[in-house]
Subunit: 492 residues, 2 copies
């Protein structure tokens, strides 16, 4: 349990894996590449879900549910999408097992129960959803359709990592249908903004909004907007994407509507999603060598109270104070756990809650009873102070906002310090190696150059940022004309 | 849209299917046996989920997430469970598609991407979860484990019906681990009681609590407790089950704990679940030939306001009243939709909201402006009255409770009227044919008699009820000794 983690400096990737497991967030399962999300990890995901869901509903979307399986013939209808996902599809071919004739305690796939048409386990749901929308859209009166789905999806990844890249993951996928291109583009942008606002104000993760290049785009999209975050090891992480799908899926599934003027037109569409990958972003943005650091808005337990005592009588006295403080804090909307278990020592509890990222710890011992004080420890700064019992509720209440802000500002300072403008390719390589982070450089706009840079450095174009300097320049590799700087980075 | 439904009397099953589709609850998809849950249907399910989730957490459970897939070798570990589900398993055998060499626009399953071990799409998660718990349990200190999962599951059913029996469905499955048999039995009973309380107080569906006979038990369970509801056509519907699994899964997956005394013992366990099948129960308990009837506690829209007007000016005047009433109602916690769309006539709207089961409709026309009144229509009784604008908010507020109670009482009266005690097998057959419902009869306790009765009448033992008369008697079929009456019925 309160075993020490490998330090980030020593082995960042090991630190990450150990943290995820030791902090009770998730673990690997018996199924290759699939994870078990443990209760503590899931409760953080539930908080993210609740906030995102609220934002989706506020922007006019409703939830619905579409099938897990996509018949192969529908899956292949939109060619680019199919091509993009074909190599990582789990495929259901049979619908029954039977007793192994050679060993009655075993089961085998029943060869007589072969499906006429194979079913793909959804890697994303555009195909099955657009085949459904076809039946829902006749006239402009049926538009827009603004639907979101919370679901599991499967992409057969070869190299997997807890939360960051798993064969099965949980996500939400919005799928909208519109009468005009402008409306669909506005939706694409709106949802990318929703993700950015959520990431920054709720997860305390600063993000850069931009669009993807042709080669990094979602398979089947005309444009992919994204939010990009920067992890502590200098690698970028794509935290959310919002796709303008043009009329591609409407054409593949023949979804047309009668306009006000009476002519038939193909529908315009978008899709957008974030996933349990956000858990990885959360961990790698804020945590330290002691373990997880959680922004208060996402912490399942915001405050833990630990009693330090000898004997039942002392515990009773401390519990009186602890329970009073806990109920006062709860009245203020702060979630509190009072851990008076006698199966674990205070030191073990301190280490465990530190590892699990609880933002504030209050400890109450016999001396505190005398002095009317409590010891308050902040997880983000690892600082401690004594606070009077009279002031501690107000103090903690204020700290919730303060810690949230502090984490964001710290992450933003780190991120801003790791956006480096370079003018030459030598500089590009040096900065990438020595410092990492985003490299802001001119690019000639061709996939050939993009690929060449990727081959030479492993850095990819994370996005063409929407905001900031739009000056023209010369490509860092070829010297050809460039319209604006783009952001390169190595990425998760 | 506002097309008339087939009446229940004419064709109950057709009425049900039409209602589900026309009320925008769900529809069949391109995947055999899998449904699309439409936004309106899903929003009702979300309300159920929120209430159930609250009750699970209040009883000490946490949510987590386990893999969709179960490797075949784990699936077959608990023999009875495996046997029970083997015949309806969707099986993943491959992890890649490739371009069809004979037609570049098509995809085929890549024969080189065959899995070494097939993966079963979970029909229920005991196997994958108990394989995980094995790693979590060493000592009595690690117990109990109280976990719930919200998930999709797949059971390859041959004859499917929207919500009632679908190849994929949504559900929650609780899986708990305990140090003692008594604790596991208490948990089994507690969760069955949680389901009963939820069904009655929230869904307004009266249920009978009892246990299943050996032949109707969950595959792998020692006892299955259940709640049984009665539909309007006299058929029973199992609305929830809670299983005492004994040490079966602990033995199959070798999960032991060191007791306080230091000896190693197998863990005791339970599992319990309800699914989107509850949507079917809801529909068939309350609805009528006009469409869905929703208890206010489950209605996504509790009150709809429809303006009846000619011209913009009149609409403006009516909207002023409507918006005022809407905001006053919302302050009282009532959800309101003001439907001022000019694309549909009032008559169409009336029919549509009736079909969708909105509990209260308020209509405001020019005469109401003069008189300071509104027309109030109740969905459950189909009655209308004029109410003064001054009193309508209080009136509607009170109606929310009144309608909820009325629906429960009506369903309970129907159910109670359809529990018939019979003494002879002739009586049994007559009542089953003429009246349907639950038949309370003596049974000799043998599976042979149970089967014989099923063959002869298609009625099964729905449960051995926990409450009520426990008098002994003689079996209705064989005349052998019986310990108590049990409830027979034809069932969904
Ligand atoms: Zn997407
Ligand atoms: Zn079950």
């Amino acid at each position: 349990m309160s075993k020490k983690l490998t330090s980030r400096e020593k082995d960042y990737s090991k630190w990450y894996n150990e943290l995820v497991v030791e902090a009770n967030l998730a673990e690997n399962s018996a199924v290759r590449g699939c994870m078990v999300i443990k209760p503590y990890g899931y409760s953080i995901w539930e908080k993210m879900q609740a906030q995102l869901d609220k934002r989706f509903k506020e922007t006019g979307h409703e939830n619905a549910y579409f099938p897990l399986f996509v018949p192969k013939s529908l899956f292949e209808a939109e060619e680019k999408n199919a091509e993009g996902f074909a190599k990582e599809c789990a495929v259901v071919t049979h619908y029954r097992l039977k007793t192994d004739p050679e060993d009655a305690s075993k089961l085998i796939v029943d060869p007589e129960a072969k499906l006429e048409e194979e079913l793909v386990v959804r890697p994303t749901s555009e195909a099955i959803i657009w085949n459904t929308y076809k039946g829902w859209v006749q006239s402009y009166r049926d538009l827009p359709i603004l639907i979101n789905q919370w679901a599991n999806v499967v992409r057969w990844e070869m190299r997997t990592r807890l939360f960051l890249r798993t064969a099965e993951f949980l996500w939400q996928e919005g799928h909208t249908a519109h009468a005009t291109k402008q409306e669909a583009l506005a939706e694409t942008e709106q949802m990318n903004n929703v993700y950015a606002e959520f990431a920054e104000n709720f997860m305390a993760i600063p993000v850069i909004k931009g669009k993807k290049t042709d080669s990094e785009r979602f398979a089947g999209a005309e444009e992919t907007y994204c939010i990009e975050a920067l992890m502590q090891d200098g690698k970028a992480l794509q935290a959310g994407t919002s796709h303008f799908l043009g009329q591609n899926f409407a054409k593949a599934f023949d979804v047309k509507f009668a306009s006000k003027e009476g002519d038939l037109q193909h529908v315009w569409s978008t899709s957008w999603g974030v996933s349990t990958r956000l858990m990885g972003a959360l961990i790698m943005t804020h945590s330290d060598d002691q373990g997880l650091v959680l922004p208060p808005k996402l912490a399942p337990i915001q405050v833990v109270i630990v009693p330090i005592y000898r004997g039942e009588e002392q515990l009773a006295q401390i519990s009186e104070v602890a329970n009073r403080l806990a109920s006062e804090l709860r009245e203020q909307g702060v979630s509190v756990k009072y851990d008076d278990r006698d199966t674990h020592k205070p030191g073990w509890k301190f280490a465990q809650y530190e590892l699990q990222g609880v933002p504030v710890r209050l400890a109450i011992g016999p001396k505190d009873l005398e002095k009317g004080s409590v010891e308050l420890a902040r997880r983000d700064t690892l600082t401690k102070e004594f606070v009077s019992q009279v002031e501690v509720v107000d103090k903690v209440k204020a700290l919730m906002g303060e810690i949230q802000e502090h984490l964001f500002n710290k992450a933003k300072a780190f991120r801003d310090n790791h956006i480096t403008e370079v003018e030459t390719f030598d500089e590009f390589k040096e900065v990438l190696k020595a410092k990492g982070g985003f490299i802001s450089a001119h690019w000639d706009g061709t996939p050939e150059t993009e690929n060449k840079i990727k081959e030479l450095t492993k850095a990819t174009i994370r996005c063409i940022p929407f905001e900031g300097n739009k000056e023209e320049g010369k490509c860092v590799l070829t010297g050809e004309k460039s319209k604006q700087r783009v952001l390169f980075a190595k990425a998760y």
